[in-house]
Amino acid sequence: MTASTESFTHSRAPRPSGGPAQAVRDSLVVAKRNLIRMVRIPEVVIFGLIQPIMFVVLFSYVFGGAIPVPGHPGNDPSVYREYLMAGIFAQTVTFATAGAGAGIADDMHKGLIDRFRSLPMSRGAVLTGRTLADLVQTALTMLVLIVVAVIVGWRIHDGFPRALAGIGLLLLLGYAFSWIGALIGLSVRTPEAATSGGLIWLFPLTFISNAFVPTSNMPAFLRHVADWNPFSATVQAARQLFGNPQGAASNAWPMQHPALASLLWSLLIIAVFRTLAVRKYRSATA
């Protein structure tokens, strides 16, 4: 133990600059912390990869020839495979919800949220840092998944810039959903509850959509839900931007302008759930 009285003379913390610069800096500090955790607990990332890869393989080869895509007569399984991929990508990015929720619930449980809340840091930084780290993880998962998709025969047909735009919309949707996860994580008592709470409603959401099957055969009511589902807009936009088969687009506005609809939906989700989550964070108690 080196005794140095100097090291204990007191002083206040530097005055926070406040404003967006501090918010960005604090968020990055928290994001870095969460990324270090991901590297040290790689099994989380690995399990996160296995599921979408299984979906790609199962859907491609099991349903492949059985689901006709409108506008593409004949039962060529490679058509469904191309049709399917945007759906799987979109489903994969939304799984970030469970990760963000479980991570934040775990931080609450361990008392870390209390530690953060006693520091003079920007209000939204703990949550923003978490969602940013999840975005990085989602992007890595997407990268691996794209490689798998290419192996089973998926291709882009309209060039890289448009494909990148499609991937951008998918990641933005994932980022938006991680804010829903953040709110769930702050609202439940255990990380386990946050994981299941983050997943159960994703199944109806992703299945009542155009992700896996064309909506044209759905009952009228479900078809309406599917057309206006934020998830469908992103899937449709990605298919357009990748130049993949799209099925028969309905007349609903989001299906006619899928890229814009996807962007608006994601921004709306971020605006609403970020506000709610940050408010909840301020009064959160373990």
């Binding site: 204990f8 003379t9 007191h10 002083s11 913390a13 005055r15 800096r25």
Partner: protein, 338 residues
């Protein structure tokens, strides 16, 4: 001028439980307040309110001269907190934990890193500094958490049972750190179940029970209020108990009714309250000797803080039930419900 930590009429209820029931505190700058109280008394709740983690239902509080409810972020710049349960990221190393806290206190990355090294050294964690905190023992985590509270050398500190789980050597070293901090002008609010710790460190003590401060003062004042000093004699054989008690009775504290000597036959111990200190003790020894009473042990005893605690709260510090059905708070709640 109110002290560095100042609270007035703090009330916080959790459903039926009045965790704080009108707490007033005033800790002068550069002093240590020891907050004592049985389990569930409201100590942690008080700390959480003062460190901006919890909003009270009513009441006011100022820390370092800043209103806790109006300017929480300003308060956060001036405080260090070590909560009752160590809050460290298990997957980060000790160094990374401290560096992160430093940066979130708005220190530059370099300064935060240098400070982390200093503190790891200071808390005997240098050898484990680059291992994930998951591999730390309970006491090591505790020390890492305490180090995190000291990252910016804050003028006001809160420590909720800081030495619980520390071995005697590390406890002693933490006491040294605390004394050093306080000599540098830091104000500290410390909760503890180790009454020796409060005795050792705290300038003032507040005893809290059922969300209310039921007694306050210096350690000596509290002891004096509980009862003065007494002479305690252990005689060699049971036959000597009666004559020894008779002699001690003559020395007992003067007053309208001379206090009786109390006798414990099992341990052959005779005790009597006295005034007169060491000089009187010498007289007692001579007198016992003259009467041929042989003794195993004799001493002048002052009440310990444990005695104070037991007298004030009516139950021991460690095993008090958190929600005692017959507690005044529960009774008040019942009456209110009628």
């Amino acid at each position: 001028m109110p002290g560095a930590i100042y609270a007035e009429g703090l009330v916080k209820t959790f459903g039926e439980v009045r965790a704080l029931d009108g707490v007033d505190l005033d800790v002068p700058e550069g002093t240590v307040l020891g907050l004592l109280g049985p389990n569930g008394a409201g100590k942690t709740t008080a700390v959480r309110v003062l460190t901006t983690l919890l909003r009270p239902d009513s009441g006011r509080a100022r820390v370092a001269g800043i209103d806790v409810l109006k300017h929480p972020n300003e308060v956060r710049r001036s405080i260090g907190l070590s909560g009752q349960f160590a809050a460290v990221d298990e997957y980060l190393t000790g160094r990374e934990n401290l560096q992160m806290v430093g940066q979130l206190y708005q220190m530059g990355a370099k300064a935060a890193k240098a400070r982390a090294g200093e503190l790891l050294d200071r808390f005997n964690l240098s050898d484990a500094a680059d291992r994930p905190a998951k591999t730390y023992s309970g006491g090591m985590r505790r020390r890492l958490d305490l180090a995190a509270a000291l990252v910016v050398r804050p003028p006001v500190m809160f420590m909720d049972e800081p030495t619980t789980g520390l071995d005697p050597r590390n406890r002693q070293q933490l006491w040294d750190v605390i004394k050093e901090l306080v000599s540098g002008g830091t104000t500290l609010l410390l909760t503890t179940q180790y009454l020796e710790e409060a005795d050792n460190l705290a300038h003032d003590i507040a005893v809290i029970d059922h969300g209310r401060v039921i007694e306050r003062g210096t350690s000596d004042q509290l002891k004096a209020r509980t009862g003065g000093e007494r002479v305690e004699v252990v005689v060699q054989t049971p036959e000597m108990i009666e004559p020894a008690a008779a002699i001690l009775h003559r020395f007992s504290a003067k007053g309208l009714n001379k206090a009786e000597a109390t006798v414990d036959r099992h341990t052959r111990r005779v005790t009597v309250p006295v005034t007169g200190g060491a000089k009187l003790l010498a007289e007692v020894i001579r007198e016992l000797d003259t009467h041929g009473i042989e003794i195993d042990d004799i001493g002048l005893r002052r009440p310990t803080l444990d005695d104070v605690f037991l007298a004030l709260t009516g139950h021991a510090a460690e095993d008090a039930p958190a929600t005692d059905a017959e507690s005044p708070a529960a009774q008040r709640a019942e009456e209110a419900a009628k």
